[in-house]
């Protein structure tokens, strides 16, 4: 912190900031500590050291099945939201048509709409349609929630593309597709990747839409975790949670590498 910012005021700012960092980390660190502590009930301070809860989790068929489903669902959601979202972002940045602002607002509106209600409303319509395949229903619901993230990140990176390069390629005889593939796409690649990664992570962690559309046959990870910690007593919940925390950390580091965290989230 530079000298413009000193004295008593700075001390208070630092103290509160440090306190908030502790507040943010404490519950996550406690979960991780509990996952390797050798007691049936979680106690503080944690006691002993064991990896037996991890061994138990890795043999837990329900959890592994849920993991498989969640990863496949997140992959499908990523592909789906990219297929819908990238062209839409293109239209929003490059198009000149009436109602552009309104259409942009509409496409981004699932972001401000409570996700819990998005899922409930979708459930009612899918019920009426007789769509009973939970996997398909989850895929549809997750694409609704994740596509605005893709649109937002891709719009941001498209706005930074130098259109003169495209004009040059076109003048030199490249077709529209070739220009997109060889000139535009390389420039927005990190934005598209960040959008896709975002879609994956949002889908993997989603609870409020998933809770309506899953069924007893197809239950993604967040729902399994919730069931284990609310309805039944399961001492391996900290280990499951830690696995999820570590997966998220990998995602965060990838995102930071790709576009920088603040840009990815605050865009």
């Amino acid at each position: 912190m530079d000298e413009r910012f000193s004295g008593f005021g700075a001390f208070i700012l630092y103290a509160i900031t440090a306190g908030m960092m502790l507040f943010i980390l404490a519950p996550l660190l406690l979960v991780m500590a509990a996952s390797v502590s050798d007691s049936y009930f979680v106690t503080f301070p944690p006691q002993g050291f064991t990896l037996k809860w991890y061994a138990k989790v890795l043999q837990d068929r329900d959890f592994l099945e849920a993991m498989r489903l969640s990863i496949l669902l997140a992959l499908g959601t990523t592909v789906g939201s990219l297929l819908f979202g990238v062209p839409a972002a293109f239209a929003l940045v490059r198009g000149h048509f009436v109602g552009l602002a309104a259409i942009k607002g509409f496409l981004l509106s699932p972001l401000i709409f409570p996700a819990l209600i998005t899922g409930l409303a979708l459930l009612q319509v899918l019920n009426k349609l007789g769509s009973t395949d939970a996997r398909l229903n989850l895929l549809i619901g997750h694409i609704v929630v994740t596509s605005p993230y893709v649109i937002r990140t891709v719009v941001t990176s498209l706005q930074l593309v130098d259109e003169n390069l495209e004009d040059a390629a076109r003048t030199l005889g490249a077709g529209r597709l070739r220009t997109f593939w060889r000139v535009t796409l390389p420039q927005i690649a990190s934005g598209v990747a960040a959008g896709g990664l975002f879609a994956f992570m949002v889908s993997f962690d989603n609870y409020p839409v998933t809770m309506w559309l899953a069924n007893s046959e197809y239950t993604p990870v967040p729902l399994v975790l919730m069931r284990q910690l609310v309805n039944v007593f399961d001492p391996s919940v900290p280990a499951m949670s830690t696995i999820i925390i570590l997966m998220a950390m990998v995602g965060v580091l990838l995102l930071e590498k790709l576009v920088g965290l603040r840009r990815a989230l605050a865009a």
């Binding site: 912190m1 005021g9 409303a121 319509v125 949670s241 925390i245 998220a248 605050a266």
Partner: protein, 310 residues
């Protein structure tokens, strides 16, 4: 193919500026078309379902579970008039407002430090603030369940008793306080990020000028920094309020029976009672609340009504 196409091709080579205008004009339609799949998808799976939900909230469900006429506002009246349900509405409002207010007060210092520090410090704070955002809400709720555990074995109680702040364990879990703490943890980044972005845009010369003219640090903050950061505050407050009001997981894990929120009531009405119209009516009230707050916030931000008159 045709001569006019060839003419265009010739023009492209000979007179670039004209061709460029022309190609932009020709691009306009095809580029717009690219948004159609997304529009169709969201219309069918988001917009239409939302309208259908609104529609079923004013209809009646018969004993076989079929929703139809007569139209009625009885479900809305029930939410307001039955004390049990009205209390849930107030609890939701109270928790959302307290959480957003607390987030504001605590996020200002963090955002200020984030913006004004050396790059390394900024990076570490950003990582700590943002990283948990990507960890499942269920896991974070569970973490707070462990921290707040009632009885002497919980982390909070252990700390309080070791420091002799209290003699007997306090019971925080399964209260509104626990829900506020959990929601604050989950949505804190949503307040810090817009604030940091607004603070980052303030011209440091303005603060320097105030300081050189003799203003103490708190006066510089109150008269210069705070007013100029209002857009970030409004955006952050709206986000935290909307997300807290619409939450389900945190009150389900940390609130128990004493802090039921609208989201939990809706889930109960749909999955346990099977009362779709009433569940839909609660949902519409929740959406109305969130959209109203968002509307006010957009009005404030876009109309530039946040600039101080003097």
């Amino acid at each position: 193919m045709t001569t006019s196409d060839e003419a265009v091709a010739v023009l492209t080579v000979e007179a670039p500026p004209v061709a460029r205008e022309r190609s932009r004009w020709r691009l306009a339609l095809p580029v717009g078309v690219l948004a159609i799949p997304m529009l169709a998808f969201l219309t069918y799976f988001f917009f239409y379902p939302a309208l259908a939900l609104l529609f079923s909230s004013i209809q009646t469900q018969d004993s076989r579970g079929i929703i139809g006429r007569p139209f009625t506002l009885a479900h809305y009246a029930r939410l307001v008039n039955v004390e049990l349900y009205a209390r849930v509405l107030w609890t939701t409002l109270r928790i959302s407002i307290i959480t957003s207010a607390l987030a504001t007060v605590l996020a200002y210092p963090v955002a200020l430090v984030m913006v004004k520090s050396r790059p390394m410090v900024t990076r570490v704070i950003t990582l700590i603030v943002i990283a948990p955002l990507i960890v499942s809400v269920v896991v974070r709720g569970y973490g707070w369940q462990l921290v707040l555990q009632n009885g002497p074995k919980g982390m909070l109680n252990w700390i309080l008793m070791t420091l002799h702040v209290v003699d007997a364990p306090v019971s925080v879990l399964y209260t509104e306080t626990a829900v506020v703490i959990g929601s604050l943890h989950v949505f804190f980044p949503m307040m810090v990020l817009p604030l940091a972005s607004a603070l980052g845009k303030i011209d440091p010369n303005l603060e320097d000028a105030a300081r050189m003219l003799g203003a103490p640090w708190w006066k510089v903050f109150l008269r210069v920094t705070l007013p100029l950061s209002m857009p970030g505050f409004v955006a952050g407050f709206t986000l935290v309020f909307s997300l807290t009001a619409g939450s389900f997981v945190i009150p389900a894990i940390l609130g128990g029976a004493s802090a039921v929120m609208l989201g939990n009531l809706i889930e109960q009405q749909i999955f346990v009672v099977y009362d779709w119209p009433f569940g839909a009516a609660i949902a519409v009230v929740l959406v109305g609340l969130v959209l109203a707050v968002n509307g006010v916030s957009m009005w404030l931000l876009e109309g530039r009504r946040l600039r101080r008159p003097d």
